[in-house]
Symmetry: C2
Subunit: 380 residues, 2 copies
């Protein structure tokens, strides 16, 4: 075999002449040499391998003086433990997975950002795993993923987090995970989760519309596979009931969390003899579709029609008029879920038991913008 050439040869600085993979005393220069190992550190600090290991892992029972000596050597050599060796030996792992199936880039990015912020702090790696929630082999796939990529645990976003068979399968295979689910309260089923009270927020939105004088309020459903859909519907239902407004089934349209379904749903509502004066789309995409349909039909928003969405995605600020919606705080939700997962992992390690991170609920907050207004006149 010919000697291995440095990659990207053209851009690399003139390389040294000798092939001496092992003799350069580590520590002289930070570049171009093999990574230093725990052995080098031990030699330099005049202690044993194990002592270095202890210091690096913050184990107790090391004299302060020794610790300082080792830390100095670590710094001088720019030593970083090798994760492969570590996870091989300790059967632990330093990466987690984020599993989602969501067509909404804003949501996904917020999720990733939240999870990553914790990963950065804790030096965990993140593997993203978009997937097809309706695949029959998903459970198997996730198990293999965890095994193959040696993931310490998973953060499950909806709708995966809401599929009991999937959850059961993961539990059975001893995989650690956290769920992010739509629910009004902690399910208290023993498994860690973060729950988002979609129902409550949908109630607020509906109430806001009612207080603006609307009585005929259309509702456009989100996807069947997400539990948030029925939750949001329940909120809508409850608000109408509380204000003594009868539910009109003609105003309730099934569909998916998509722009196109918003567009189509709105057209159906427009064709009604007795049109709604307001439409609540189950998320911002749907609401954007409604907005587009309104414009296509020459309906003036918000004066002839109020529109509300759900999610507070960036384009809800940027549409014209800007959308009234509910701010989910996806990033915080993801952050907390990740903290919860890490706590769970620690729990598995030690019998410290006392978990400092708890299941937690989030309530999306109503954000009033320009797409909702007081009812002006009954539509023709």
């Amino acid at each position: 075999m010919p000697p291995r050439k440095p990659r990207n040869a053209a851009l690399a600085p003139a390389s040294d002449s000798k092939q001496n993979p092992r003799d350069a005393h580590p520590g002289e220069r930070g570049r171009g040499m093999r990574n230093s190992t725990i052995k080098d550190v031990a030699k330099r600090a005049h202690v044993s391998l194990k002592t270095v290991s202890r210091v690096v892992n913050n184990e107790p029972s090391v004299l302060d003086r020794t610790r300082a000596k080792v830390l100095r050597a670590v710094a001088e050599l720019n030593y970083q433990p090798d994760l492969s060796a570590r996870s091989l030996r300790s059967a632990k792992s330093y990466a987690i997975g984020l599993v989602y199936d969501n067509p909404n880039p804003y949501y996904v990015i917020s999720m990733q950002t939240g999870v990553l912020s914790v990963c950065r702090e804790t030096h965990y790696g993140l593997q993203i795993h978009p997937c097809n929630s309706s695949s029959p082999h998903l459970a198997e796939e996730l198990c293999n993923l965890v095994r193959h990529a040696r993931l310490a645990g998973l953060v499950l976003a909806p709708p995966m987090s809401e599929r009991p068979e999937l959850i059961a399968h993961l539990s059975a295979n001893d995989i650690t995970f956290v769920r992010i689910i739509s629910a009004a309260e902690d399910p208290k089923d023993g498994a860690p989760c973060v729950f988002v009270d979609d129902r409550d927020a949908a109630y607020d939105i509906t109430e806001h519309l009612i207080q603006l004088g609307h009585a005929r309020i259309g509702f456009l459903w989100g996807g069947e596979s997400h539990r948030s859909s029925p939750e949001r519907f329940k909120g809508y239902e409850a608000a109408l009931k509380d204000y003594g407004i009868a539910i009109d089934k003609k105003l309730i349209i099934p569909g998916d969390y998509s722009f196109d379904d918003g567009f189509r749903g709105a057209r159906r509502l427009f064709s009604l003899k007795d049109r709604p004066t307001a439409i609540f789309g189950s998320n911002d995409e749907i609401a954007a579709g409604v907005l587009a349909a309104a414009k296509a039909n020459g309906i003036d928003v918000p004066y002839e029609l109020s529109i509300a969405g759900f999610e507070d995605s960036p384009f809800s600020k940027q549409s014209w008029p800007a959308l009234t919606t509910a701010k989910q705080g996806t990033e915080d939700i993801a952050r907390h879920a990740t903290l919860l997962l890490l706590a769970e992992l620690e729990k598995g390690d030690k019998a410290d038991a006392k978990a400092t991170v708890q299941n937690k609920g989030f309530s999306p907050q109503l954000v009033i913008r320009d797409s909702t207004a007081r009812v002006r006149a009954t539509t023709s």
Copy 2:
């Protein structure tokens, strides 16, 4: 230490009574037992460890009969090689990093999707690494990332891919990477890259506007830090020149790749004595800002004002009117970049030399929608 409890205890099936971590003969059931190792496979196939290793890695010099025997055992035990052990021993690695700094979720998600599609096929893991391209420690940060997470290589999205010091630093540290850059042709600097001809596409867009009769065409710049910005500007400039239209500096507004800058830039253009009849926003976000500004000023798009964007993000279809833009094919670009990276990695391994994957150029394609129209009347 008390015996380790299974995690998620409440959901786990009634656990077995004995603590027998090692005695269960692997292969009987697929669940709840330790992962099988190469040793188990060897035992079951009545061959040595090394032979199994050879089969698993598709090395030559194995009798077909032996290979078959081993493969059967592998299948029966659902054996999957342990990546930690593998990368520890072979100093190779099975994950790559995707480095980007881009506020646009659509772009980022497309990028991720493209890279992931290759990763899935090749069983590589993907670590995403959003970062701050203006951080002075970015180069150091990336080196540490690669070392710490044992990444085999990096895919660099703009603008990181366009910073010479960064590239040089990575090369100097012997890190393998591919760049995705904005350029009309292959820079041929020896380092692998995928280049996107923004200039050409911007030319097409400008030409389209000119052919609709527009002569006063505003141009809203994207971010300074992205090379795509001047490239797109060059395309705009070249088209005007080719059609004999003088450049009016008042029509050219600096700014960033953002909605807000689009909004502000458009307002500045509207306040001009001699308004443009068309505006070319350097990306769809900017164009969306222009659209919003037009609506806020009661300007009828496309009849009083044509607007074009760049990127073909989903909302360019969903805005009202839908935006004329250039389709980038980000997903394909990311796919090819990843293939290129993997080819580069293989090249490092063997001296096969003959690279089958080459640097490649992409030309975004003009997509004509409803936000551009034939010039009707001179603006007041």
